[in-house]
Symmetry: C2
Subunit: 255 residues, 2 copies
C-alpha cells in the first residue's frame, strides 16, 4: 500500500495569505493519499478581541470558556477550514474539511478542571481510522481542524500538533504513514538562531544525547517528544520542516 502523508501546518503560514496560498499549491501537488491538519493561528485571538472577549492563555495554552469555544469553532472549523478547502479545490485537490465531530472522526475527553481549568479543551480518546479511510478511498483529501467532540454533543478544542500525531498514529494501522510537522524554521536546529544548522536525522539515542547536553531548546522539546511518541506507536517516520519548503527534501527526519 502507498504511503499516507499526514501534514500539519500552524499559525506562521495560516496568518500569512501569500505563504498559505503557496503552501496549499505545494500540498495539492503531492501525489497519493494525504491528510492536512491545521491550527488556528492568531485569527481566533483577533476575532475574540473584536467581539469584546479577552483571550485567556495559561502557559501558552488557550483557556476555552463556552463563549471562546463558539468563536474558535467558527474560526477554525468555518472560516479557516473552508478557505483552505476552497483553495485546495482551485488547485485540483478534492479536499473535504472535517472537525472531529464530522463522521465521528475524533472523539476526545474534556480535560479535568484540576489542577488547571482550561475549559472546553479535550484530550484525544479515539481517532476513527475508518472515517478517514472511507474518505481517502472515495478520492477525497481530509482537511482537519483542531475542534473535536466528546460524542455526547459537546465540542472540544485540542492542540493541532496532538491531532496530527493522533491521526498519523491511528492511520499507521492501515497505511505506512509519515507525519510531516511544518513550522517556520528549516528543521530542528543545532543553533536555534542559525537556520543553516539543521540536524538532518535524529534517532532516540541522539535525542537523549542532545537533551542531556541541553542542545534542544524548550520550544522544540514537546515537538520532538510528540514525534518519538508517534514513531513508538507505529508511524514510519516524522519530518519536522519549513512550511515554505514542503516539496523539497529539507528538514529533520525523526525515526
Amino acid at each position: 500500500m502507498d504511503t499516507l502523508k499526514v501534514i500539519k501546518i500552524g499559525g506562521n503560514v495560516i496568518d500569512n495569505p501569500e505563504a498559505l496560498e503557496a503552501f496549499l499549491g505545494m500540498f495539492a501537488a503531492i501525489p497519493g493519499a494525504k491528510i492536512l491538519v491545521h491550527g488556528g493561528g492568531a485569527i481566533a485571538s483577533r476575532t475574540l478581541l473584536r467581539m469584546g472577549i479577552e483571550p485567556k492563555m495559561i502557559e501558552g495554552r488557550r483557556v476555552t470558556d463556552a463563549e471562546t469555544l463558539q468563536v474558535v469553532t467558527a474560526v477554525y472549523a468555518g472560516l479557516i477550514n473552508k478557505s483552505i478547502v476552497a483553495t485546495l479545490q482551485k488547485n485540483g485537490c478534492n479536499a473535504i474539511g472535517l472537525s472531529g465531530a464530522d463522521g465521528n472522526a475524533i472523539t476526545s475527553r474534556k480535560r479535568p478542571a484540576a489542577p488547571v481549568d482550561y475549559g472546553f479543551v479535550g484530550d484525544i480518546e479515539k481517532v476513527n481510522a475508518k472515517t478517514f479511510e472511507a474518505l481517502l478511498a472515495a478520492g477525497m483529501t481530509p482537511v482537519v481542524c483542531a475542534i473535536n467532540h466528546d460524542g455526547c454533543g459537546t465540542l472540544l478544542n485540542t492542540n493541532a500538533d496532538t491531532i496530527a500525531s493522533g491521526i498519523a498514529t491511528a492511520m499507521s494501522g492501515t497505511y505506512p504513514t509519515e507525519l510531516i510537522m511544518c513550522f517556520e524554521k528549516d528543521g530542528v536546529l543545532m543553533d536555534k538562531d542559525d537556520n543553516s544548522s539543521v540536524i538532518e536525522q535524529i534517532d532516540k539515542p541522539l535525542f537523549e544525547k542532545l537533551k542531556a547536553e541541553g542542545k534542544v531548546n524548550a520550544g522544540m522539546l514537546p515537538k520532538l517528544k510528540n514525534a518519538f511518541d508517534a514513531i513508538d506507536a507505529g508511524v514510519k517516520k516524522v519530518v519536522i520542516k519549513n512550511s515554505a519548503r514542503l516539496s523539497d527534501g529539507s528538514g529533520t527526519v525523526i525515526f
Copy 2:
C-alpha cells in the same frame, strides 16, 4: 433503491436551542438515507453586529461583502454546522458537515453585480451527486450549510432553500428523492393566520387556481415555485411542514 430524504431547516428552529435539539432528535431517528440542509438564522446578523459590521439587506436578501462573507462562513460552516453535527452524533446519527467546497459538493457562479450587487452571493451551477453518494454509501449523513464555492478559490453564499432543492434535484438521478422543507407553520395554509387550515395536497392545477384566486400569500409563493421546480426536475415529492412535527404525517404534499 430506498428513498432519500433531503430535509431543510431554517432560522425558526436554529435560533431556538430547545427546538433545535428536539428537531435533531427526530431527524436522527429517521431510518435510511438522508441529507440535512440548514440556514443560518439570526446568528449571523447578531455576530456581524457584535463585530461592528452593520448587516445589509436588500429586499430581505443579505448583501455579502468580503468581510460579511468571512463572518457568515465562520457562523454557518463552523459554529452552526458543527453544533448540529455534534448533536446528531450524540443521537447516534453519523453526520458529516459540508459546505459546497467540501468534496466539491456544490459549485456556484457569483451573481452579476447588476442590477443589484449582492456581493459574494452564488447561483448554483452544479451539485456533485457523486460526493453525496460516496458519503451516503459510507454510512454518513451529510449536513450541508449554504456556503459553497466557484471552483476558483472563492466562497459564495446561497439561499438555503435553493441549496436544498438543488441537492434533491441532483440526487433524484440516483435515488427516489423526497424534499422536506421545514418552517414554523404546519404546512401551506388556506388562511395564513389559521394553523389548522393546512392544505393537505397541492398539484399544479390547484396551485394555479390558488394563485389566480390570490389565496397564496407572498411569503409562500417562492417556496411553492421552488417545490414545483424540484418536482419538474425529477424529485418524487415535496413536503412543506412544521419542523416541530418532523416525524408525523402532517404538512402539505406537493406533487
